[in-house]
Symmetry: C2
Subunit: 66 residues, 2 copies
DNA sequence: TACAAATGTAAAGTTTATTTTACATTATGA
DNA sequence: TCATAATGTAAAATAAACTTTACATTTGTA
């Protein structure tokens, strides 16, 4: 699975820390997510999508290997 | 977070095991998810939503406590 | 009723998400 | 250039997802 968090965050002009605070996770979690180092929970995905005003499917994209 | 998996599964006429096989998890994982015993990963949520032909947000719903 | 399928549940184990702390590197603005 | 903000990264610890095995209960149906 890949994601567009970095792009959406840039559109909103937010830092990783800003986003982390808004969705109540650590900055490292955001950083690792942007680097696709792990798959976030559905709660986190829903919060991020809601914050960015886009559907989950537009931000998190399944890949063939998933 | 709550979810409508049980309802959507009934609409499709699938058993927990059917669904488990389709999204490559164990039947117990589906059973526990339906009982909201834990929050699934985003990959799993995307697979389930795709299978049901509905957006993630229609199947997984954030609550105030999230 | 009886049998089978479906569901519920539980415990132990493995894997993975997330936190915390800490430091190094990179960008940016005065 | 200097200072500071932002980002990258890493290791250790904790929490949570998910698996496997196993059994009990419920439900549908012949």
């Amino acid at each position: 699975m890949k994601n567009n968090i970095k792009v959406e965050r840039a559109i909103k002009g937010m830092t990783q820390e800003d986003l982390a605070n808004k969705v109540s996770v650590s900055r490292q979690t955001i950083n690792a997510m942007e680097a696709s180092k792990y798959v976030p929970s559905t709660v986190l995905a829903l919060k991020i999508a809601r914050l960015f005003g886009k559907p989950v499917e537009e931000i998190f994209i399944l890949e063939k290997t998933d």
